[in-house]
Symmetry: C2
Subunit: 220 residues, 2 copies
Amino acid sequence: MTIARQSFGQELDSLRFELVHMGEIVQTSIEKAVDALARRDKALARSVMDGDDEIDRMQVEIEDRCISLIARQQPVATDLRVLGTGLKITTDLERIGDHAFDIAKIVLLIGDEPLIKPLVDIPRMAGIAQRMLQESLQAYLKLNVQMAEKVCRDDELVDQLYHQVFRELLTYMLEDPKKINQATQLIFVARYLERIADHSTNVAEWVIYLVTGERLRKNK
Amino acid sequence: MTIARQSFGQELDSLRFELVHMGEIVQTSIEKAVDALARRDKALARSVMDGDDEIDRMQVEIEDRCISLIARQQPVATDLRVLGTGLKITTDLERIGDHAFDIAKIVLLIGDEPLIKPLVDIPRMAGIAQRMLQESLQAYLKLNVQMAEKVCRDDELVDQLYHQVFRELLTYMLEDPKKINQATQLIFVARYLERIADHSTNVAEWVIYLVTGERLRKNK
């Protein structure tokens, strides 16, 4: 009995490590996608798009492991929350991966056109969103509620930056209609980054639920 | 024992009905949001935004029911898939609700400005997206794989309409810079509708998994 429980504990740990590993891959995707945009690197953008299948596969694998552990082990309390939040967090990570894919696709759409402006706030947003993801993964690994709460607070920062970027790009469009197409694409990039921050906040909220058993009000 | 199993079966049915009920509320939200946009009805838009809390509450309640049924009943096979897909479908429905909220918010942003063009394709997209959601919910209720597969096929249609709307609005912006701000907002509306169709497709894919036990390749 003791051995079986320990082995279940190990399986839960290994599941959590796999989820964090998926998160790290997703984080690299965001980094590469924004880098590809800044450096107009179409090959890099394509590699992000190609990598998305692997992220989807990891999601399916993690989901299957959660479901099969629930079926085999009939867990309760914290153990059950590990598996329930596993199912939820993997969805958020996969959505973040989708948004990295979306950003990479925009790099290909913009193609060789010169950028209408030096990118400043978009890489800044990306930096904060990536840090939020990283910290939510750390919070998950260490089951640290304080770290998770910090992530939730940082979401406001990204929202503000998004509105700033949006207004700025609108000004560019108004000044020069030739910039409209690309500015629209860059607004999408900003929007995706804002969503990535939302999903990272979701992960942090799941960590709080995992540790405390308490549900927060949904992040919007 | 027989009584307990039947009561579990009833609990699963009641959970499925609640999920469909949530889906219907979410569908009404899309309908109202797009209607508010077409009729410049700010009060209606506000009612969609106010209704979002209720949708979030339903999600939390359904999730809690899934988790607690898993804990109490230790289900396997199809029963477990009902609960696993319950956790997943509720996330998709909540995201659809968020997008209805996003569209309603845009109605308020546009305010009393006259619309830059008669809305044709956006209500069409909304109509298809709503039908997809409705059919995916019907497929879920009836565990009907053929219906679910039809939803997956319709997703392509919405994607095509999205690209058409996007190109058209870009043309409006290029012709008249005064239209840029609103056209950008309408592009977002189209994008949200395209996402709503994606999430409806996800629901349909979960139905296929629920019935067959087979996972499809993720909808992108």
